[in-house]
Symmetry: C3
Subunit: 272 residues, 3 copies
């Protein structure tokens, strides 16, 4: 039987309260598929979302934001340039930057863009599924054969490899999420299979992590915070809704209704 | 005790019926965050939304539309050029144009773009929150110090200043909305705090105003119409839904279910 | 009394099961209004959506996709170029391509773009409303006067004309949908007027057709499959929801909850 770490869940609860008190501005350069859900989930957790992706304004926006999230879900040449400008500005100003390398490995453009972003920008957190993180970790120097890019790879190991390569906290989301940082691995066991049945829940996990990064520099705890909140909300929404349209609305409901006590009691996060 | 103006609410109710009879085409050049909600809310009120933002077609689309809404929420160089082309075409053809200067004041690009639009295009209505309208009114000639851009500014006064500068009807939305026109100020007291907890309700207010402008040239009444309808729907949705995902769906429900009688009885609009 | 063809409905039911077993990747280059609904409805039917529209990656994405959907709802010069690249690649690789000529006839750009796409790319299915398909069929050689572009035109006849001109299966959606192919016409009678009261249901019909095309090369049956599923889900959602926000969520619910038996029993498709 897994013993969860109540102290970690309580720390997440405390950060949730801080987000709601501080209402941090989370700047997102993201895709047009899940952008509305990403804005609403940041509002639901207590932050303030702002979307801006023109090269002539992203540096100004980063300057007033508390965190920056880059998501390559529907990247194009214009928005990629804006991502580099915004990311460098956030690095200069010491603000957290979070990367969601959506679909990396599927096309050369995505793989090359994500790698270039990782080379030029220091990310606080990188979050992807096992396939995406494997594509970044496995093909960039180490030789491990095809198992690295498939379901057989161990999420914690793949996350740890990319964490070592980049110095970022690296998150692999799945049935149980793995969060690798310099000193070890955290696991988050909240969640529900329904989360994989609507679009954008990966993106939503990433922006929630961004909201938590805005109020702490313990980025592995911030990652745990985002994942506990989305996972717990997913469990509760799935208990009420069977269809995916209602589940989608219910997921936002449950994030907005979460309180620190819920998280402290039901957050399932532990040190591996 | 505030005495509301039943004649004004009844005029709004009449316009609502006209929208549903005429089904006016409302052309929107807008952001990709709230675009789906903006399309659906125009359908809910009885209009027909159309989104088109390529420079090679916006003038054609304006020619068949009954109103044009420009929203700079996720502006970029391509869509800004389209906004100028579309706005000038609407002015040439005598069709109402409504501006939503989202985030103006936050970046230089937004402020300069909004000001350039105000210089080159004659807007029927400009709608923003107190911060946005202050950024346009306060920094453009008058000198009033920092209070003008904060919460302490009087919405009606700020709206009146920009109305005088531009000749447009100017709306500042907030707990009580202020509508300034050449001859005075209207107030709309419908609404609910939940409206501020989801993304895009400002944008939705603006496109509803656009739908009303399509059926009348009394643009301050049109502004009241959009605000009464969204506010009343917000009150009703908030009475049924506590989470923000359900509230978002419920808001569209209530707009679509509004009838003229609801508006005539529960619209809270008055002349100041 | 119309006798529906049980064999056809049973074939649709079989294809639905195949989609859920194969989970085909449906690549969409589409508009930013309905893109989230289009992603979620593909997930609801059992497929896997992917949106990618940069010219530097669409050919790679088509190479791993099972079907390609092109939708010109918010076309611009960048995405139109991507549509040509992706469409030609799909033709080279023998993958089905489906066109949704949104708003064709409303602007010259839309009409010229849709015609150029039809000239250069071989589409498996083209789906539009009577006005859109008339604009493509009626103005491209035959001379029939204004009746062709209006409500008086016979959907099956207009669809058959464009089918003959292009060699594609052509679908005109409306109260009863018409599907024209080389050998005749199918009709689908599922649906509900509420489907016309939210944005994006035409786009959703098209991507569902795309999901069906991914598992069969009988494209008229695939078209019937997409229309039966959306129509049946619309009927069920309308029985539960009166407001358009709830209906929108309910529509996705009902698509996700459809099973083969529902389709076999309640699908109303017949050969004309």
């Amino acid at each position: 039987m897994q013993i969860y770490d109540n102290a970690l869940a309580q720390n997440v609860a405390r950060l949730l309260d801080e987000i709601r008190a501080a209402r941090p501005l989370v700047h997102q350069i993201t895709n047009y598929v899940s952008v509305n859900d990403c804005a609403n989930v940041v509002l639901a957790i207590g932050g303030a979302p702002v979307m801006a992706d023109d090269c002539d304004e992203v540096e100004d926006m980063v300057a007033i934001a508390a965190a920056l999230v880059l998501n390559i879900g529907t990247l194009n040449s214009r928005t990629v340039e804006a991502m580099f400008l915004a990311g460098r500005q956030a690095n200069r100003l010491g603000k957290p930057v979070i990367l969601d390398p959506v679909g990396v490995g599927a096309t050369r453009l995505r793989t090359e863009t994500a790698r270039a972003l990782l080379r030029e920008i220091k990310f606080s957190v990188v979050r992807g599924n096992i396939s995406e993180i494997s594509a970044l970790a496995g093909n960039a120097g180490t030789t491990r054969g095809v198992d690295a890019s498939g379901a057989e790879a161990d999420p914690a190991q793949v996350a740890a490899e990319l964490a070592q390569m980049t110095g970022s906290v690296v998150v692999v989301t799945g049935a149980v999420d793995a969060i690798a940082h310099g000193g070890g691995v955290l696991r988050v066991a909240n969640g529900h299979p329904m989360l994989a049945r609507i679009t954008g829940t990966g993106c939503m996990a990433t922006v929630l992590i961004g909201a938590f990064c805005a109020v702490t520099d313990d980025y592995s705890l911030a990652a745990a915070g985002g994942l506990v909140c989305l996972g717990l909300a997913g469990e509760r929404a799935a208990a009420k809704h069977q269809g995916i349209g209602s589940f989608r609305a219910g997921l936002l409901d449950e994030v907005s209704l979460l309180c620190g006590r819920d998280v402290a009691e039901h957050g399932r996060v532990h040190v591996e």
